[in-house]
Symmetry: C2
Subunit: 368 residues, 2 copies
């Protein structure tokens, strides 16, 4: 079902950081209304396998990935803010990606699709923000790869952003997670049905490889303590009596995922995540973001080992050298990296208070 709230813009030639130029359709969704001064916009950056569909637009709409967070009267209140979420290039939910048709030959891009970077994602988002005639974003909120995008915004367009809320992210992916990410990619590329990336059009796709990739990713999103608490060493009652509950859970996660996600998109997006380096083009992370003087509200999760508390701590140190006001808050949760999608109440309350208190004076005068 294509929601009436899904909108798109088309760019004839979008120049990627790699130097390649492609025609780009950028799909996005908006929630709430822009106020008269066009100053109440919040950009939400979706995480790896999500889309621009953050929340329901109305009762009959399908679930969003942050439904309990975004909406009228919710933590990110769409009666107060105009929320924008842009589907990133490389993904498979509307914006141009490897499964899109290459107008050059009328076939899906597949292996011909060019490399995508976090910078490309942010520059595509910027086109949407320009299109909506928004000069300044009240805040940019994102977790994980979405958090990388929030950081990149503060680097590329510092004067357009009043605050960033990077959740469970880091200045670059740690070597350990690069390792797990590589194995995930390897699982897809080793699947004979991947066919070098050109599997579209046939009835075979590297779904087993994608299942394994998802299972690896998923397990790194959980915490040791959380897995212990939720599954222990219990055997599943539903399936074979040889199967542990953690096994049937991972099996289910893998099977469910391949129904909704394109294996090539998984490769392109994880590659973008792995290659992200805040300092790229500069001598240091500080040099990269030193122009930014907005608010930085870093959130980390105590049981997260995908992006650790220490990685947010490090980001706090980097931004503290700028003229920004920096806060770093650690959520206590057994859900690991996943907590940013699960602990909506804990995160939501903090985000709401941050937005209310930090911009109180402005809201009094500009709310519509």
């Amino acid at each position: 079902m294509v929601s009436e709230h899904r909108r798109e813009i088309k760019v004839d030639g979008f120049e990627l950081r790699s130097g390649e130029e492609i025609p780009l359709t950028i799909e996005f969704e908006t929630y709430g209304d822009l106020d008269r001064s066009r100053s109440n916009a919040i950009l939400i950056c979706h995480s790896l396998t999500h889309s621009s569909h953050v929340a329901k637009h109305d009762e009959d709409d399908e679930e969003g990935w942050w439904t309990s967070m975004v909406g009228p009267g919710k933590y990110i209140d769409t009666e107060e803010y105009f929320v924008v979420c842009v589907n990133v290039p490389g993904s498979c939910y509307g914006t141009t990606g490897p499964s899109s048709i290459d107008p050059g030959n009328g076939e899906p891009y597949g292996s011909d699709f060019p490399e995508i970077t976090i910078s490309d994602m942010v520059r595509a988002q910027k086109l949407v923000i320009d299109h909506l005639e928004i000069d300044e974003l009240k805040s940019i909120i994102g977790g994980s790869i979405g958090g990388q995008q929030a950081l990149e915004w503060s680097k590329l367009y510092p004067s357009m952003v009043k605050s960033i809320i990077p959740i469970a992210t880091g200045a670059r992916v740690s070597p350990m997670m690069l390792g797990f990410g590589y194995i995930s990619q390897n699982a897809i590329r080793s699947d004979p049905n991947w066919s070098g990336g050109d599997y579209y059009g046939g009835n075979r796709s590297p779904k087993y490889g994608l299942q394994i990739a998802r299972q690896i990713g998923h397990l790194t999103y959980l915490s040791r303590e959380g897995v212990e608490r939720k599954f222990g060493r219990e055997k599943s009652q539903e399936e074979s009596d040889h199967e542990f509950e953690i096994e049937s859970y991972l099996r289910y996660q893998g099977e469910k995922f391949v129904e909704r996600f394109d294996p090539n998109s998984y490769l392109y997006l994880t590659e973008a995540m792995h290659n992200f380096d805040l300092s790229k083009g500069y001598s240091s992370d500080f040099q990269a973001v030193k122009e930014f003087d907005g608010l930085v509200y870093l959130m980390s999760i105590d049981s997260d080992w995908h992006f650790t508390v220490e990685e947010s701590e490090y980001l706090a140190e980097v931004y503290e050298k700028t003229d920004s006001l920096v806060m770093h808050d650690t959520i206590k949760s057994p859900y690991g990296h996943d907590a940013f999608l699960v602990e909506n109440e804990k995160l939501g309350k903090k985000i709401r208070l941050f937005l209310e208190y930090m911009f109180e004076g402005e809201f009094d005068s500009s709310v519509n």
Copy 2:
């Protein structure tokens, strides 16, 4: 090259814990000589993908997996001790496993090979010890799955064992590692060349699946800090400039491993490891080992997250309730779980001193 030091015994009908009976060839190697009182024997239990070939038998012999640990004058001194190592059932280095010929039909067992447990491994080792006419083992030393075997010995044959040195192991595999283990197995089973386990005889084997399984396992053997120190986010100079060093390392580990190991063996041995539960058949871990009154020298590694320090700590608590003398020593090392194969000096010194001091009086009278 089959070493002249490799020996074997054959059992017509070995009854497995599953109830199935198979003819079993048990391959083993010995180092040093038994003293007159047959009381200087040490059993070393190899880890997941190793064999009975612990060390070189002479200068021209091929490397063993613990060469710097075992030999004349070394930490486990074969001038003093008679060292035995038995290749476990289910493996692919001589003892009967899934790649062995089923005498029932003259074909490799493949998917017909029965389930193997840690208990079966220990009972096969016991047959070798009986065959060598050894009534009592001075010590049983093993890391990881080898450590599980040392624990199982104290449960099954408490009066035959004077001491156990379980290194980097636990009473049962943690749910988090069950998860990674499951994904590894899944990678092999999802490889179309696995063919349900019956891939022998053709020229196709599930080597890509095994590569991924190995890479997952290998990364869980390293520590976050170790990966950071050794690889960082450096790009490899040798291969594509898109490849991080951790990627080329994991790729190499995967490629090297498939040349020496059978995918089905990997499945059977990891399954045995996952299903091991010290308390099996008893109401608690303590009840399972309460007959044991020998020495327990637990060793853990501070950076190990495959089997954590806490898991050895827990084992110490269990054995402290018995009449055993229990010691728990934690090695400081950045090598994670792998440390038990890498930190030979740190481990070796401690093991040598333990054996020397604890059995000093006896050696004075019984050394040959």
